[in-house]
């Protein structure tokens, strides 16, 4: 058994695809029409053979309730690893992305949380490295 996919509920698949590719920089991997919705996955541009993120439609009402509760509490639906969280914070702020948590050290990582415009808070984290001598 292997982990090849992870799923994120989004309230608008087209809007999500635009945000995750054009703003965050992911790459579309698969798109299969399925009536009103589609099977839609994106991957990291730096790891295109890596785990796929499924941008999952959310017509199911209990799932909407769950997503809304998480969002209102500021709880991230998922987290992505970056090399430099400050740099991403600066880049995404310029792209008008709204952050609920600015760069904050948390033990051996530094993190931020932003609004993905599709109903989710997303966390970015950087594993801190030794300061250069």
């Amino acid at each position: 058994m292997k982990i090849r996919l992870t799923s994120l509920l989004v309230n608008d698949q087209d809007k999500a695809l635009k945000f995750y590719t054009e703003t965050l920089g992911f790459v579309k991997k698969t798109e299969i029409p399925m009536g009103e919705h589609k099977w839609l996955t994106v991957v990291s541009a730096e790891e295109q053979d890596g785990v796929e993120l499924v941008l999952e439609p959310i017509s199911f009402v209990p799932a909407q309730v769950y997503q809304k509760a998480l969002f209102e509490a500021g709880i991230p639906a998922t987290a992505f690893n970056v090399a430099d969280v400050e740099k991403e914070y600066e880049r995404l702020t310029k792209a008008n992305v709204l952050f609920s948590v600015s760069p904050t050290p948390m033990g051996p990582v530094k993190l931020v949380v932003f609004n993905d415009t599709c109903g989710n808070n997303i966390q970015l984290f950087q594993v801190l490295q030794r300061q250069k001598d």
Binding site: W39, P57, S59, G107, V113
Partner: protein
């Protein structure tokens, strides 16, 4: 401040080591990342980080959720995978990464990757694309 941020800060203050200790643990991790090609021991890692072995294990585990030894093994296996894929022999890889014996190396490698070093060395990276029909679960209407 969101509920999440409040909880996050509480957890940080309660469970993570102090900043000066964290910088020592980051140093220990860096030492493991860069020195795993020799026979680095826990003593070496602790000495390099100016921590006792006991403190090193305790603080490292609190920061990364792995003991220094487990992390060292992770790093060695990742390096072994790279070396094997670039054509390095199993015995040479084992020796360069400081494993006790090829038997120990092969056993650990299989545990981490699911196949023996020699099979891994030969295998192609190609895997069939996989997807599952899950969206159907979310297509219900009000």
């Amino acid at each position: 401040m969101t509920y999440y941020q409040q909880e996050m800060l509480k957890i940080r203050d309660k469970y993570f080591p102090r900043p000066y200790q964290i910088s020592k643990i980051i140093q220990a991790r860096y030492f493991i990342d860069t020195c795993s090609a020799d026979n680095s021991s826990l003593d070496d890692i602790a000495r390099n980080s100016h921590l006792s072995k006991f403190h090193l294990i305790r603080l490292f585990s609190r920061c990364y959720g792995r003991t220094p030894h487990q992390y060292l093994t992770d790093v060695k296996i990742a390096k072994a995978k790279k070396m094997l894929l670039t054509g390095e022999g199993v015995a040479d890889t084992c020796q360069q990464l400081g494993f006790e014996s090829t038997t120990t190396f092969a056993g650990l490698f299989k545990k981490y990757t699911g196949c023996s070093p020699s099979v891994y060395r030969q295998k192609s990276n190609f895997e069939e694309p996989v997807f599952y029909i899950y969206s159907e679960l979310y297509t219900h209407k009000k």
